[in-house]
C-alpha cells in the first residue's frame, strides 16, 4: 500500500517536480564520479590495444553512448505507451524529455565512431553495422521530434508521437538484425568492436564504469528535463503559481 501511494504521488506533477528536484544530485554526483573514474581508467590505466593502439580508447565513450541511445529509445517508447494506455501525462513528459537525450547519445556515438574511423581507415565514415544502425536510430529520433513539433496541442503531440514510438521500438530489433545481416553480406568493416578477442579486466572495468556513469547521467538529465516539461505543461496550474508566488515572497523578504 505504501509503495502504491508513493507511485501514485509520483504521477502527480507537483509531487514529481519536488521529488525529481531532490533526486538530481543523487544521480548527478555518482554519474560524475563514475564517468571520471571510467575515463581515467580507460585513458590512462588501461593498456593500449595490440591491434589498434591508442585509438581504440574512444570505445569508452562510443560503446556506452550506443547502449544509452538504445536504452533511451526503449524508455521513451515504454513511457509513451504507459502515457497512452493509462493517460498519465507525466509519462508523456518523460518520453518527450528522453528523446533529445537519446538523440544526443546517438549523435555522440556517430561522432566518436567517425573519429575512431579516421585514423583506422582514413575516412570519416564507414558503413559499419553499428554506425549504420545508430544512424537509422538517429533518424527515428529525428522523426519523433518532427512529429511532436508538428502539433501545437501538446496532448495530441503526446499521443501521436506515442504511437510512433511504439511502432519504432518494435522496429528497432528488426532494423538491427537487417543491418547486421546486410553488413555481413558485404564484408563491411566490422572491426569497430572492442579491441581484441577477450578484454582483460583493466580494459573491461573502466568500460563498465562508463556504462553505469552514462546511465546515471541520463537519469540526472531526465530529471532536469522532465521538470522543465512539467513547468511548460502546467504553467497555468495553481500549484505552480503558488510555488512561484511563495518563492517570490521569500526572496523579497530577504
Amino acid at each position: 500500500m505504501g509503495t502504491w501511494t508513493w507511485f501514485h504521488k509520483l504521477s502527480s506533477p507537483p509531487h514529481f517536480y519536488r521529488i525529481a528536484g531532490q533526486l538530481i544530485p543523487w544521480f548527478a554526483i555518482p554519474a560524475a564520479l563514475l564517468i571520471v573514474a571510467g575515463i581515467y581508467g580507460g585513458l590512462v590505466r588501461a593498456p593500449a590495444d595490440y591491434q589498434q593502439g591508442d585509438a581504440f580508447r574512444i570505445i569508452y565513450v562510443h560503446a556506452p553512448a550506443a547502449w544509452l541511445s538504445l536504452m533511451c529509445y526503449t524508455v521513451m517508447a515504454v513511457a509513451a505507451a504507459v502515457g497512452l494506455v493509462w493517460r498519465i501525462k507525466l509519462a508523456h513528459a518523460l518520453a518527450a524529455a528522453t528523446a533529445p537525450i537519446g538523440a544526443s547519445f546517438a549523435l555522440l556515438c556517430l561522432a566518436t565512431g567517425s573519429i575512431w574511423g579516421k585514423p583506422m581507415w582514413g575516412t570519416w565514415w564507414t558503413w559499419d553495422a553499428r554506425l549504420t544502425s545508430q544512424l537509422i536510430l538517429l533518424f527515428l529520433y529525428l522523426g519523433y521530434q518532427a512529429l511532436r513539433s508538428a502539433y501545437d496541442d501538446i496532448g495530441k503531440a503526446d499521443r501521436a508521437s506515442a504511437v510512433l514510438a511504439i511502432v519504432g521500438v518494435v522496429n528497432v530489433p528488426i532494423i538491427h538484425f537487417s543491418v547486421n545481416w546486410w553488413n555481413s553480406l558485404h564484408q563491411g568493416s566490422t572491426v569497430l568492436r572492442r579491441g581484441g578477442p577477450a578484454m582483460p579486466a583493466s580494459m573491461l572495468v573502466p568500460l563498465i564504469l562508463c556504462f553505469f556513469g552514462f546511465t546515471f547521467l541520463y537519469a540526472a538529465l531526465a530529471c532536469v528535463r522532465v521538470r522543465a516539461e512539467v513547468l511548460r505543461r502546467e504553467r497555468n496550474a495553481h500549484w505552480l503559481q503558488d510555488l512561484a508566488g511563495r518563492r517570490g515572497r521569500t526572496e523579497s523578504s530577504t
Binding site: 522523426g143 512529429l147 496532448g155 501521436a160 504511437v163 511502432v167 522496429n171 532494423i175 537487417s178 543491418v179
Partner: protein, 229 residues
C-alpha cells in the same frame, strides 16, 4: 445492445470496393505513382553514367529505391480525402472494428499504388540490363515490399493527418522504418539477377509482411482516432 448487423468482413469488403470504385472514376490519377517510379529510375543513368556494366550493377538498388519513393509519395492520398469530406470520422462510428476497415483501405491503396509497381518494375530492370529470368523474384519481392510499406505507411499517414507539414513529415517518419524492407528486397533482387537463389531474403520479406499485417492495423486505428480529436 444491438450490434451492427453487417458482418465485419463484409463491411471491410464494402470499404475496399468503395475506395477502388472511387479511384477508377478518376483513373488517370492511378497512373501517377507508376510515372513517378519511371521518372525516378531515369534519374540514375542521367546522374551517373549510362554504361551498361554500371547500370547492371545498380539495377536492383535503383528499382527498389524508386519503388519505395513512389510508394511513399502515394501514401499521402490514403486518408487525406476522407479527412476532408468527413468520411473517415464516420468510419469510426460504424460499430465495426476500425482496424479491419483501415486494413481494407490500405489493401485498396496497395492495389492502386503498389500493384502497378509490381508490373512496372521488370520494365525498369530490363532497361538497366538485368536478366529477364530474375523478373519472377523481382515482382514477388516488390509485391511483398510495397505491401509492407503500405501497411507501415498507413500508420505514418494517420499520424500526420492533422499536421500542417504533409508529405515531407510523412517521409521522415516512414523511411527509417522501411529500411529493413529495402535491405531484404534489394538483396533478393540482386541475388536473382546474378542467377542465385533468393529464398532467404524472400522469406524474411514474407515474415515482415506477416508482422506488419498483424500489428499495423491496430496502430493505424489508434493513430486515426488520435488525429480525429
Amino acid at each position: 445492445m444491438i450490434l451492427a448487423t453487417t458482418a465485419p468482413l463484409r463491411a471491410a469488403g464494402l470499404v475496399l470496393r468503395r475506395d477502388l470504385a472511387l479511384a477508377f472514376r478518376r483513373w488517370e490519377q492511378v497512373t501517377h505513382p507508376v510515372v513517378f517510379f519511371l521518372m525516378v529510375a531515369t534519374l540514375f543513368p542521367l546522374a551517373l553514367n549510362p554504361k551498361p556494366s554500371l547500370l547492371a550493377d545498380i539495377a536492383a538498388g535503383v528499382v527498389w529505391v524508386s519503388a519505395l519513393l513512389s510508394s511513399m509519395l502515394a501514401l499521402e492520398t490514403l486518408y487525406r480525402a476522407d479527412v476532408e469530406d468527413g468520411t473517415l470520422e464516420q468510419l469510426t462510428l460504424t460499430g465495426q472494428p476500425l482496424a479491419l476497415l483501415l486494413l481494407a483501405k490500405t489493401v485498396a491503396h496497395w492495389i492502386l499504388s503498389g500493384l502497378p509497381l509490381v508490373l512496372a518494375a521488370p520494365v525498369v530492370a530490363i532497361a538497366f540490363g538485368a536478366d529477364a529470368a530474375a523478373n519472377a523474384v523481382l515482382m514477388t519481392a516488390i509485391a511483398l515490399g510495397t505491401a509492407v510499406l503500405s501497411l507501415i505507411g498507413s500508420v505514418g499517414a494517420a499520424l500526420t493527418l492533422g499536421s500542417r507539414r504533409g508529405s515531407v513529415l510523412l517521409s521522415l517518419l516512414v523511411l527509417p522504418l522501411i529500411m529493413p524492407v529495402l535491405i531484404f528486397g534489394a538483396r533478393a533482387t540482386a541475388l536473382a539477377m546474378h542467377g542465385e537463389s533468393a529464398e532467404g531474403p524472400l522469406w524474411l520479406l514474407g515474415a515482415l509482411l506477416i508482422l506488419a499485417l498483424t500489428l499495423t492495423p491496430f496502430a493505424s486505428a489508434a493513430a486515426v482516432r488520435i488525429s480525429l480529436e
